[in-house]
Symmetry: D2
Subunit: 147 residues, 4 copies
């Protein structure tokens, strides 16, 4: 997939997504930061946080899922009209490795942009120094909704 | 599906799940409570919390997903040996309605218990007074792992 | 879920679905028959066919998936306007038991009917004499499209 | 993902997969051919076949799903011991574009190989002359089973 293939309809897509990200209280609660926004491609980062653990002490599956969902949603949103809002229709997450690293990066990308539906894929990477490991992947459907 | 069909191998399954639930810091962080545990069936409740919102002001999709995943995981866990631990292999969540109600209930149930894999289904209900609405559903695979 | 809750907008939904089912060559190729159509609920049956096997000799996973997808799609279609057509957006299938029985029944039901999106669930049962076993389950999203 | 990263444990993986593919009657019934096998990566091709259509005249969603499932399953199988058999645990398919082209190619790749579980991704391409379009994608979990 060529990340450069997408042409945004709203030239202010970047500031629009920054505003929407800031309006998601969930991002601050989980300690997630918007790191990279290009058309059809969004990246989010966070540090390991012991208050988000499951019973083995590593991050709950819901954490990477929330990060990938947000990255995919805003990747779709970056290609929408300024008057449209993004909603998650559904997603599937697969968990390839435990979330135990000091840092994480969540990547969302648009595979196909339709009139109202956007097919996206997400990836969660665990980062420990110079080593990056794929720990989870997502397949998601997003919907554009007139505000 | 008959919830009474499952016979737990560990008669202390209930206290074991209560301990594991308490060990999940994520549950306290999101304000989730264990409400009901029977063999192959677990329910979790929470109240609406504005710090868990997405950009429209209702709960982020990651919240119901985390609740359903935990309910499904512990539903599987209730049927495992005391020496086994539960891990999420993958799940799919579908979002039927926005999460705007004052209260929520997440239900996880085992559809099929194999030797190491458990197929589960989850439901998220939004509760407003006496009205309960299905707002999300989950299809999940859980794995038993020797500790 | 109450199967009687759905009110079709097209009173000729049944004959419309019978026509569409007959137009799916795939159904004849796999030996599937439309067995039951009520609003938001469709059932399809077939017999075991050795020409549809995978390498262990039982039915390929694609067979039950095709049956559940068709049942879910027409369950959604039964609630659409006569001028709308149904398309599959995505589905997830879980395989609980091998498809080895002499007969099969595929059930599709609508969980939520939106303006353009329909959330459905499917089940595949293996039938051997009087015994029916859940062998696969589906979670699907269908879309209504103006013809 | 680096396709060259995988080292097969069974050096005869290729002939083993050719035997298993030939044993899948479903492949002959749908007109699918094994086209390419390397460790953790399998490709399957087929031509458009009007007997596999749904009601709009293009291929039923079950066709690409069957092709991607088989490609993913054998991609996992290529990394297993000769004594192990592959079973599909679950998959999700997303349908990005209608299957109307003269030719199709289904690609399956292993993302993560665990002790018993393999996480795979699949892609279905519609091919018309020199043009190849992504028409469907799959996220799948495969299981190794001792024969």
């Amino acid at each position: 997939m060529n990340k450069n293939q997408w042409v945004p309809r709203d030239e202010d897509y970047k500031s629009r997504i920054e505003r929407l990200f800031a309006a998601q209280n969930m991002m601050a609660t989980l300690g997630m930061s918007l790191d990279h926004v290009t058309p059809g491609h969004v990246e989010i980062t966070m540090s390991f946080n012991t208050s988000l653990s499951q019973h083995h002490g590593f991050h709950h599956a819901g954490v990477a899922t929330t990060g990938m969902d947000t990255a995919c949603g805003f990747a779709a949103c970056s290609l929408m009209d300024a008057s449209e809002e993004v909603l998650t229709v559904e997603f599937k997450s697969s968990f390839l490795a435990p979330a135990t690293t000091p840092e994480f990066r969540f990547v969302g990308e648009v595979l196909k942009a339709g009139r109202s539906l956007y097919f996206c894929q997400g990836q969660a990477f665990g980062i420990d120094g110079g080593t990056s490991t794929l720990i989870a992947s997502m397949s998601a459907t997003m919907m554009a909704k007139r505000a």
